[in-house]
């Protein structure tokens, strides 16, 4: 069965430090991959998506992600974290039935 794994349930980083959130997918030779952010009291917001082409994709709010087929990974990165980035982050993959399968999420906390 298709699955998306986010190994880190919680991550704490200091403001200004770099960030990498891990994601592994299990389905498809050419996956469609997404990262969403969920802030308290707000709906899920799309940060970026990968369909094909350049394996390094840029998103909103200074985020980027790199698709690595050999590792079945799609890790999210940001060079310098801001306090407002504290939220829950979800990796997702589109399956053949046109539904998104989400990982369990990583909760990011930012220390001042």
């Amino acid at each position: 069965a298709q699955s998306v794994t986010q190994p880190d349930i919680h991550i704490t980083v200091s403001e200004g430090a770099s960030l990498e959130l891990r994601c592994n997918y299990s389905y498809g030779a050419t996956p469609y991959l997404f990262w969403y952010v969920q802030s308290p009291g707000q709906g899920l917001q799309l940060l970026l998506k990968y369909f094909s082409g350049d394996t390094l994709v840029q998103g909103i709010k200074g985020f980027e992600a790199e698709f690595k087929r050999s590792q079945s990974s799609f890790n999210l990165r940001k060079p310098s974290v801001h306090w407002s980035d504290a939220a829950e982050y979800f990796c997702a993959e589109l399956n053949a039935g046109n539904m998104l399968t989400f990982g369990g999420g990583t909760r990011l906390m930012v220390k001042p």
Partner: protein, 115 residues
């Protein structure tokens, strides 16, 4: 409206009661999705509509759950004989076309608590 609207934002009910959750998608969006998010987990797919018809309802957990979208716009998720395990945030999303062609826009969710 500008975004996906879900009502109610919070619903507390007693075990065994009937519940309806409403989703008003972005105008013109033909695809509509329902997801369920339990505490500490990622959203789980329930059902998706393309227009008025349910294109895939394989995520509905059992026959107590049902969803409709009679005019291809507003959708209602209906839960009969609620159980404590149904407590979760129910998320609705819409998109202009199929998910792979564009972005899914999510509402803020309806938090259901079954006592």
């Amino acid at each position: 409206g500008a975004g996906v609207s879900q009502t109610p934002s919070n619903k507390v009910t007693e075990k065994g009661k009937y519940v309806e959750l409403r989703c008003d998608p972005i105008s013109g969006h033909t695809a509509l999705y329902w997801y369920r998010q339990s505490l500490g987990q990622g959203p789980e797919f329930l059902i998706y509509f393309q227009g008025t018809g349910a294109a895939d309802d394989s995520g509905l957990p059992n026959d107590r759950f049902f969803a409709v979208r009679p005019e291809g716009s507003v959708s209602t998720l209906k839960i009969q004989r609620t159980e404590r395990g149904d407590s979760a945030v129910y998320l609705c999303a819409s998109s202009l076309g199929l998910a792979y062609t564009g972005e899914l826009f999510f509402g803020e969710g309806s938090r259901l608590t079954v006592l």
